[in-house]
Amino acid sequence: MYGWKGKILRVDLATRKINKEDLPIEWANNYIGCRGINDIILYKEVGPEVDPFSQKNKLIFGTGPLDGTPIGMSRVSVQTKHTKKCIGEGGAGGFWGPQLKYAGYDFIVFENKSDIPVYIYINDDKVEIEDAKDLWGRNTREKNSILRRKLGTDIQIASIGSAGEKLVHDAKIEFTMDHSGGRGCGTIMGDKKLAAVAVRGTGGVKIKDPTKFMAGYRKIRKILDLKETVDAFVPSWAFLSANMMGVVFNEEGRLQAYNAQKGRIEGFLNARDYLARHVIRPDACFCCPFPACGRKFEIKGGKYSGEIGQEREGGFSGGQHWLGSNHGLWF
């Protein structure tokens, strides 16, 4: 089996049993990729009568056949029965998905509920369920730093914050830092009393024909290359990602400003000023061909001068749009 690692990890949180199943080859052929197989596991094992907060609901972490290679990059999909009784699906980038593949698994299925807060530590073949008394009640960054101090700095962590622990209906799962899978998956993770999933892998992803694979990858890189491209979308997305939408929306007059009373703000956002004032370095997910879809920034001047942070393509919809222009705030 190439691409796939061919293993499903089943963790029973109530009885603390861990099973490693083979991935059926007909699933891999018929339901391509992580979302399809996540769906078929949910369809077969979680019926319509199952209550989302019951023992029978399952939480599935899935990766695809190309995850961990430069073409597939890093997407990971979390699926479960949502609290509104539909499928809840949260996708995230970052470095967690490839690490799971390198550890040797395509899918993790969490079953039943735990009585006490626990976290899972996956180190290649070794899978452990451990007590998470010191993690519970803390936010994702604190969980990250505690686990890294305990297990080493090269692990990747999926964790929930206090929203997931308190069963807020749209809680998210945070993958390491600043990569989030939303749509209420964190609620079910909190309901199962699962604080974090820490992964370390030292294996690889096998490819049948590396020469052909790399030739295909070079073709893709040529389309996205900044020197060769004819698509205006490529350079703007490569440097500003979703923040460029603010500029475009403002010019078109459909920016949500002052609680939707206005469609435009004079002198709203200038890409050049934004780059000059705040951005200091590029930052990216696993194997991203774009140089700066995420950026590291430093606040210069004012009360919070010297604060360092990262932003990703969600910057527009979250910070800039709903907390920014909608309240009449911009930089």
Binding site: P70, G204, R221, F239, F290, A292
Partner: protein
């Protein structure tokens, strides 16, 4: 021409690990993408500001290279990895500093990777 060497500009590294992963496919047998086998290791700093690539290779016997450049240099999206002779490195650094003063975009990428001003606008002028 002088002997070509690897030069790393860590203030431009996005920490994407393209170099690390693309290097590993050519190493030894096994046909697999495995960062453990790679000759490059990227140290990511999630909370801080600097991602640092560590290169353990002289770049001359790259098994997967297509052109004159090694695969890692070709795949680097920002231009952090530079494979050239010492004099050229000097001039490239000069060019980068000059362009940074005019256009803040070059905090994120090197000028020889990005054609500024962009060619679609140049044609109109």
């Amino acid at each position: 021409m002088q002997k070509r060497i690897f030069v790393v500009a860590p203030d431009l590294c996005s920490g994407c690990k393209s170099c690390e992963v693309c290097c590993s496919i050519g190493q030894e047998e096994g046909n697999e993408f495995n960062p453990q086998k790679s000759r490059i290791r990227v140290i990511r700093d999630e909370l801080g500001i600097l991602n640092i690539p560590l290169v353990n290779c002289d770049g001359n016997n790259c098994p997967t290279k297509a052109d004159s450049e090694p695969t890692c240099v070709e795949m680097c999206p920002t231009g952090t990895l530079i494979f050239t002779d010492l004099e050229d490195v000097y001039w490239k650094r000069m060019e980068l500093n000059e362009k940074r003063r005019i256009q803040p975009l070059f905090k994120l990428i090197v000028p020889w990777k990005y054609p500024y001003p962009w060619k679609a606008y140049r044609e109109e002028e």
